[in-house]
């Protein structure tokens, strides 16, 4: 293809935000598949329709996950992307890298793939975008030699991800990176060999700000919290106020339970601990003065997912407080109980939340040996249709 054959996508080389078209063109200088991708993208812009097909059996020996089969629907026009499979590479927890590790991945992908990537896909993996079937196994073998492995796909445990946590955040109530790494190693078989009704996601956020959106998209949501009391450094509070910070307007009036009050005679921030719901707002506003408590653990929630099939769900509280110390056996035992019940009862493509809705939270709680507590609901039922069984 001549350099001036893509007028529509070339438009997206302009403008202040960094251009992915420029990136595809960089890769296209070295790689025929990347060059054909430009043509496919231009055709989609002309016709306002996708030109990719899914399906087929692709993968590496021993695994049923980590590779997504992808084919162009016009291989005669774009032969270099007749096959354009994705490889999902499990990221190190917290997305920290040495440049050595990144350069190794780049070199391997230069050899076996299009040279195009996402850092990262929504689930958390490094996405290597576009290769053919015969390159999959040698590419995988070199990646494992470099210390990397594939992530999840299909009806498997998906690649686990977490926020930056204690590595660089004072809010984190749990060791998100270690939990992520530990569970990932524990459940390699569940990640690589899909066996369940549908996908299952685990995400770990260090505090209720929920930096990795665990509550919205993880079937098993781990969010750091504390069981004792907010720590207040009154000297630092006074400094904020002295510097003109509107503590009433920006903090105490925004407290969802009015648990905080500013006493401007005593120059003291008072807290009714029993009313604090640990929302993080006051800490977010005054990080130098306020900190989470010291009796720390996690709230475990269940069922978050996007709309397919029965609608979107936010995760529901399952265990209000769980201590999170290595080797995290309590969480692992619970996960295995959940999977057993789901795999036994779930229909094809039914996520855990949909199964819980179909069979009832009561049935689920019995199956995983958890006693009901009021923290699980906003309010009890209003209707009289109780099954006494």
């Amino acid at each position: 293809m001549a350099d001036n054959d893509t007028p529509l996508i070339d438009e997206l080389e302009k403008g202040p935000w960094p251009s992915y078209i420029k990136e595809i063109k960089r890769a296209a200088k070295k790689n025929a598949a990347a060059k054909d991708l430009l043509g496919v993208q231009e055709l989609s812009f002309q016709e306002r329709i996708t030109h990719w097909k899914h399906g087929g059996i692709v993968g590496v020996t021993g695994y049923g996950a980590g590779v997504i089969g992808r084919y162009v629907d016009a291989p005669d026009k774009f032969p270099a992307v007749e096959m354009f499979h994705t490889m999902r590479i499990n990221q190190p927890a917290g997305w920290f890298y040495t440049t050595d590790a990144l350069r190794k991945i780049c070199d391997i992908w230069e050899k076996y793939g299009s040279g195009l990537t996402n850092f990262h896909g929504s689930t958390g993996d490094i996405i290597l975008l576009g290769t053919n079937t015969k390159s999959l196994q040698p590419c995988f073998d070199e990646l494992t030699e470099a210390g990397f492995d594939l992530g999840g796909s299909g009806s498997a445990l998906r690649t686990i991800s977490c926020c930056v946590g204690p590595a660089r955040c004072e809010y984190s109530c749990i060791d998100t990176l270690d939990i992520c790494a530990n569970l990932t190693q524990e459940f390699q078989d569940e990640i690589h060999r899909p066996r369940w009704p549908y996908k299952f996601k685990i995400k770990i956020s260090g505090c209720p700000n929920d930096g990795v959106a665990a509550i919205a998209r993880a079937d098993f949501t781990i969010i750091g919290t504390w069981h004792d009391t907010l720590r207040i450094d009154q000297d630092e509070v006074r400094k904020y106020v002295k510097n003109g910070f509107d503590i009433r307007g920006l903090v105490t009036e925004k407290c969802p339970t009015k648990a905080l009050a500013w006493d401007d005679k005593e120059l003291k921030l008072n807290l009714r601990t029993a009313d604090c719901v640990r929302c993080m707002h006051c800490i977010n506003k005054m990080p130098k003065a306020l900190r989470p408590g010291v009796d720390r653990g996690a709230t475990i929630l269940i069922g978050g997912k996007a709309p397919i099939i029965k609608g979107a769900y936010l995760s529901w509280v399952l265990v209000p407080f769980m201590k999170m110390e290595p080797p995290y056996d309590e969480a692992k035992v619970l996960l295995r109980k959940i999977w057993e019940w789901w795999d036994e009862n779930g229909r094809s493509r039914e996520r855990i939340a949909e199964l819980i809705e179909r069979m009832g939270l009561k049935t689920f709680l019995r199956a995983v040996d958890i006693k009901p507590v009021p923290q699980m609901v906003f309010k009890p039922r209003a209707n009289p249709y109780v099954f006494f069984d």
Binding site: W17, Y20, E47, T50, G130, K254
Partner: protein
Amino acid sequence: MGKSDIGPPSYKKMLPAVIEKNYGKWKYHEILKPGVLKHVSESGDEVWTVRAGSPRLVSIDFIRDICDIADKYCDGKLRFTSRSNVEFMTPKKENVEPIIQAVQKIGLPVGGTGKSISNIIHTQGWAHCHSAATDSSGIVKAIMDELYPYFTSMKLPAKLRVALACCINMCGAVHCSDIAIVGIHTKPPKIDNSKVGAVCEIPTTMASCPTGAIRKNPDPNVKGLVVNEEKCMYCGNCFTVCPAMPLADAEGDGVAIYVGGKVSNARSAPMFSRLAIPYLPNNPPRWPEAVSAIKNIVEVYAKNALPDERMGEWINRVGWENFFKLTGIEFTEYHIDDFTHGVDTYRTTTQFRW
């Protein structure tokens, strides 16, 4: 056969020295200016972070470029955020400005912190996905070109999270974003019954439909399927299971805009984004209709919300009736939920605004 089930490398090997030393000991942080963070440890150590936006779909040479910067200023370490931003960390304050300059030199914006619009989370779109109802990287580039000043500044009432999914499968789980852009089909699948028998499993395909709209073809001579088009809401679930029923359509496909979602528990509970604009056309390369609609919503929010109010908190305070009035967006019958839990959204009080 080589190694198997080794899992990813340990994060411990990847941490910058100052991070490793102060792991779990951070005391507080400050945002010094857009895109620049300073974290202070109980040990007294400090680390500065420069956050840069990326186009997400990048070449390996882009990765090598950012590695060069990290080698020069960050002892060969860097990290990415969950929104595809790149973070350069250094214990040396004097490295901050050179990092910013190096990042800007390769064309990346510094920002995305605090009360800004950070990078848009998005899916693969026409660059890679079989079920895309719109593009992803292209429309995101068009939107971010327009919203760019909000990435590099912190002048909004609160942070504003934008996400895009190129079909309602929402593999990017965008449904709890301040602004969610969702690719939608608006026409039922076109069944190719000559292929259904060969490439699809009929019971699985029928079961895939959330509204039970797919039945066996009543004609005994046809081994195929029919769709009750009145019951179809174009979700594409059947197409994922059965490639012989594509529903992509150049005229019908477009994007919908949902607003007011959040995942943070700060102040208010997490909430779903809700429908603001049912349909806007796919108009590449710059999607002007979608871009101007989003810009309007951002500007109306910026003008009307109180400090620290997220989009959804602002709308809940002023009421959806005012959201539609202030933005000039038309409220239609499409906005009324008629799916499974729809009745829970109908108003059961005489309290509302005119």
